[in-house]
């Protein structure tokens, strides 16, 4: 007898996988916010390029930044980058080895909270320095 193998494992397609679960949708959204970080880096690079091209080019760049369209774009960037920062520190406890403080393991909430606090302080310090320089 040469019986045919009755096994026919069925592999389900992965098309549209990220829409199947709210967790995956959020993952795609927070990964996509990285594009906004890249966009802001591009804005800064263009500024550097215009600065290298001389005073007129630099002033043109500053004027462009003051347009309502540019201000609106920067508000969108700020929101997206803040969300990116938040999700970054939410996942941080999953990436670190156990950290012992006084014989106890640091909790995930303490790691996330610590990261967010450092990010907020660093942003404030940078803002203060730039504010001081601009005055």
């Amino acid at each position: 007898m040469n019986a045919q193998n009755p096994r026919r494992p069925y592999l389900r397609p992965m098309v549209g996988w990220w829409r199947r679960n709210p967790f995956f949708v959020e993952y795609m959204v927070h990964e996509a916010t990285a594009l906004f970080v890249a966009a802001y880096a591009a804005v800064l690079l263009v500024g550097l390029l215009r600065l290298a091209q001389g005073e007129a080019a630099w002033n043109g760049f500053l004027d462009a930044l003051r347009t309502p369209l540019s201000i609106g774009f920067h508000v969108v960037l700020l929101v997206a980058i803040a969300y990116h920062c938040w999700t970054w520190f939410v996942i941080m406890p999953k990436t670190l080895p156990p950290i012992l403080v006084g014989g106890r393991r640091l909790t995930p909430a303490a790691i996330t909270g610590g990261g967010l606090a450092v990010a907020a302080l660093a942003s404030l310090a940078l803002f203060g320095i730039v504010w001081g320089m601009a005055r």
Partner: protein
């Protein structure tokens, strides 16, 4: 406890069926059955098999979340069906499918060969640093040394983390979360000396760096193992292995 014969509550269970000898692809079949508040989804499936349709196939054993056999997609989420209750889906219906990302053998039964092969490849047992005779006694370990790996030793091989990992679904070559948790469990055990052998799996093309930190594996784990933590700790260890190999040769890449 209300007797199932007297209960008036009824629920619909929608099951993804696949019978390889007659179906070209899976299809949904709905069963309506009486249930009591203490019935798990697994008990609902057992009712279907006993009373409504004996041809339904699914895996189960312990009924108390320790054997790891009854993992299924329940309303789209990877869960142990013995630890999920029908009352939480009432009124309404609950959809039960085979664990995502694995080939379906039949109905709710998946093909787990890939996981078993990977499990063997990581040598999931303690490889002593130096051979030791019985006369030398047991290996001693402090509570602090045990604390480093204990959480990872809770894995019951239920595969929910694989069904939660889109990277594994997209590329089944990826070693995956559960195996990395078990590998890490042995690598960081103070009694073990096999880390260099296991790092070959970590450092490989299909090793830890296939992970994009979705993190859903740790959310669905019924034993709070946190496989995402094991994977991501080993990204650091793998990078260290790579950059320190000139200074301190050890480990290899498959």
């Amino acid at each position: 406890m209300a007797d199932i014969a007297e209960t008036r509550k009824r629920i619909e269970i929608e099951v993804l069926r696949y019978r390889p000898e007659q179906d070209t692809e899976p299809f949904l079949q709905t069963y309506e059955l009486p249930f009591t508040d203490d019935m798990s989804v697994l008990q609902g499936l057992q009712y279907i098999k006993d009373e409504l349709d004996g041809s339904l196939s699914f895996r189960w054993s312990c009924r108390m979340a320790i054997c790891g056999s009854c993992g299924m997609m329940i309303d789209g989420k990877p869960r142990l069906s013995c630890k999920t209750f029908l009352r939480d889906y009432y009124p309404g219906r609950v959809r039960v499918e085979a664990l995502a990302h694995f080939p379906i053998e039949r109905d709710l039964v998946i093909v787990i060969d890939d996981f078993i092969d990977k499990l063997e490849s990581i040598k999931p047992y303690i490889i002593p640093k130096t051979p030791r005779t019985l006369a030398e006694g047991e290996y001693l370990q402090t509570p602090a040394e045990r604390d480093v790996y204990e959480q990872f030793s809770s894995c019951i091989n239920c595969l929910l983390c694989y069904a939660a990992c889109p990277q594994y679904g997209l590329n089944p070559e990826f070693v995956g979360p559960g195996i990395m948790a078990l590998l890490h469990r042995y690598n960081v055990d103070s009694r073990d000396g096999g880390a260099a052998q296991r790092m070959e799996v970590v450092n490989a093309e299909e090793g830890v760096f296939n992970c994009t930190a979705v993190g859903y594996c740790s959310e669905v784990c019924p034993k709070h193992v946190d496989p995402a933590n094991a994977v991501n700790q080993n990204k650091t260890l793998s990078a260290k292995d790579y950059f320190l190999r000139f200074v301190r040769p050890k480990g290899d890449c498959r």
